[in-house]
């Protein structure tokens, strides 16, 4: 037994020494968790509920927030954005994963090129796409060459959110694809061989083998992508600042504006509390997925 071997030279003091060692090894990370994550979260919650000496928690900030059409508008925009961007990105990532998992010539090269935008800082990608989408930019030049006419893109309240979706999808799809390719590689090829012998077509093989066996990585990507999209900030701040007419005022931009342009610390804290609650709910699902195949329990 490994336990017996370990205990013999050290004894009881050895076990206590091990506890002490654990405390030492963990201390920096525990301090980091406390100071960098839990303290600011607690701080935001306390400011949001106006917890202080001699005062009872109050919902006033939340009432104020939900009475403000700018905030409710930003929630609606974030909801619309999430409903659109997540299915689009996951469908594209899945399609690309299946495509780039085939035995094609130079497939590794295509895969790397599709992943390349992930490495570029979001702020940089936003700047590049911002210039590309200008009225006199190359995208409109291409649209006109194809006879589609010039488009306003980021300057139109009807197209700005769609343009942001195009940009963040260009950035992120390759990243999510990588998780799905790893999942595809884990599906035993015998399943496909057996299905081919039984005469299953490509669509049947995809629906009856690939999709069910890809459920775990797909769920993971869905959850992680949803969180990432809740937090999109750089493209909005750089390209539209929430406009035109609030059409791209996603919740992170709303919190930032509230805290720094309007100096509404309490409102920003209340909005942060709501965001953290939603994100923690989604992340705990993610955590359970990560632990599902873990050897800890």
């Amino acid at each position: 037994m490994p336990d017996g071997v370990r205990r013999r030279p050290a004894g009881l003091t050895g076990r206590h020494r091990e506890w002490l060692a654990a405390a030492g090894f963990l201390a920096p990370a525990v301090v980091a968790v406390l100071v960098l994550r839990l303290w600011p979260t607690l701080q935001a919650v306390m400011v949001a509920f106006e917890v202080g000496p001699g005062s009872l928690p109050s919902l006033a900030n939340f009432r104020f927030l939900f009475a403000d059409p700018e905030f409710t508008g930003s929630l609606a925009t974030t909801a619309l954005y999430s409903v659109l961007v997540n299915p689009i990105q996951i469908a594209l990532a899945l399609g690309l994963a299946v495509l780039l998992n085939q035995a094609l010539p130079a497939v590794g090269l295509w895969r790397t090129l599709v992943l390349l935008p992930v490495a570029v800082p979001q702020a940089v990608s936003a700047v590049i796409w911002g210039v590309a989408m200008r009225p006199d930019g190359p995208l409109n030049a291409a649209f006109q060459a194809l006879g589609l006419g010039a488009q306003p893109f980021l300057t139109s309240p009807r197209q700005a959110l769609a343009s942001i979706i195009v940009i963040v999808s260009w950035i992120g799809v390759g990243y999510w694809m990588t998780f799905l390719i790893a999942g595809l590689k884990d599906i035993p090829t015998q399943y496909y061989e057996a299905a081919a012998i039984d005469g299953a077509g490509a669509w049947q093989r995809f629906r009856l083998i690939t999709l069910p066996l890809l459920r775990r990585p797909l769920t993971f990507v869905l959850v992680a992508d949803t969180v990432a999209n809740f937090l999109v900030f750089a493209p909005v701040e750089i390209l539209t600042r929430g406009g035109p007419q609030g059409s791209t005022n996603l919740v992170m931009n709303e919190i930032y504006n509230r805290a720094f342009d309007q100096g509404d610390t309490a409102g920003a804290a209340a909005a942060t509390t709501i965001l953290v609650l939603v994100v923690v709910a989604v992340v705990s699902i993610q955590f359970r997925l990560m632990l599902a195949k873990d050897d800890f329990s």
């Binding site: 091990e18 090894f25 963990l26 994550r37 839990l38 940089v124 790893a182 965001l275």
Partner: protein, 291 residues
């Protein structure tokens, strides 16, 4: 079945098999082209005089994509201006984050994977969940705290939030669990303490996991935008992402210079990612999606 019927059927099937891979290959190439086209255009525009960025767009020709009169003038201007400072700042912040962050994350992972102590499950769960609270969601309240500590416009303020990373801890712990216990038991009999076991056995054996975790830490810092915007607004501590966003917001910006700057900012992580691609893929695979 006669051979006369089977033969055309077989050749038809072969033809279909011939057409499908070609179609798939074209699709794969189109996806790759769509992914790199904006980057190529940006890099090429960095080699153009600022006045030529929008000049060759109509009608579309090869000169819409490639520079007609390539010049290195933009690069010279950049390296003598504030952008050089931003690049240095970014490299310092990222390097310190990776070095200190690896030490912090791997020592925590070592305790969680190897040592036995009461409350281990709870510590692990609390740590990973709190690190999984995405940093950006609490960046605004944290920046208020940091300003109170006097960390505004300091490297320390920029580096600190990047040090602890739940994914890096999780990944390293997973790797450490795979290292046989007998190794540390033997070392202990030989008189090596826990610190020695961590430093001389676990770290040297964990190169791939350390590179993977290092990449996670690096990418976090190189991507950061909201945090430096909040905590380091002074020009002396601008990082690359902020410098470029400011470029874009300037009135009468020289687009040639701006694109040269974007190329530099994109090139550093791309080279690192391509160099360590194998480890990068492996690090993604360990984040729990593998059956």
């Amino acid at each position: 079945m006669s051979a006369g019927v089977a033969a055309p059927e077989r050749s038809a099937r072969r033809r279909r098999r011939g057409a499908l891979p070609t179609l798939l290959l074209i699709l794969a190439m189109l996806a790759a082209l769509y992914s790199v086209m904006p980057l190529i255009w940006a890099a090429a525009s960095g080699l153009r005089p600022g006045t030529e960025i929008f000049r060759y767009l109509s009608p579309l020709t090869i000169w819409s994509l490639l520079p007609r009169h390539p010049t290195l003038a933009n690069l010279h201007v950049l390296w003598s201006g504030p952008f050089a400072r931003a690049m240095t700042n970014s490299i310092i912040v990222a390097t310190v984050t990776v070095a200190v962050g690896l030490l912090l994350c791997s020592s925590a992972a070592f305790a969680l994977a190897v040592l036995r102590f009461p409350g281990k499950h709870a510590v692990f769960a609390v740590m990973v969940v709190s690190f999984l609270i995405p940093f950006d969601s609490i960046a605004v309240p944290l920046s208020t705290l940091f300003r109170g500590f006097g960390l505004q416009n300091t490297y320390t303020g920029l580096v600190l939030p990047g040090l602890g990373n739940g994914l890096a801890v999780f990944m390293l712990r997973q790797f450490f669990l795979g290292i046989p216990r007998v190794l540390s038991e033997a070392a202990m009999v030989d008189g090596l303490g826990w610190w020695g076991i961590y430093f001389r056995i676990y770290l040297p054996l964990s190169r791939p996991a350390l590179i993977g975790a290092g990449l996670i830490l690096f990418v976090f810092q190189w991507q950061a935008f909201l945090w430096p915007l909040l905590i380091a607004p002074a020009p002396e501590v601008h990082v690359v992402a902020i410098a470029i966003a400011n470029f874009a917001g300037e009135f009468g910006v020289d687009y040639g210079e701006m694109f040269a700057a974007t190329s530099f900012a994109a090139l550093v992580p791309m080279v690192i990612m391509l160099f360590f691609q194998r480890y990068f893929a492996a690090s993604l695979a360990t984040s729990g999606t593998k059956e």
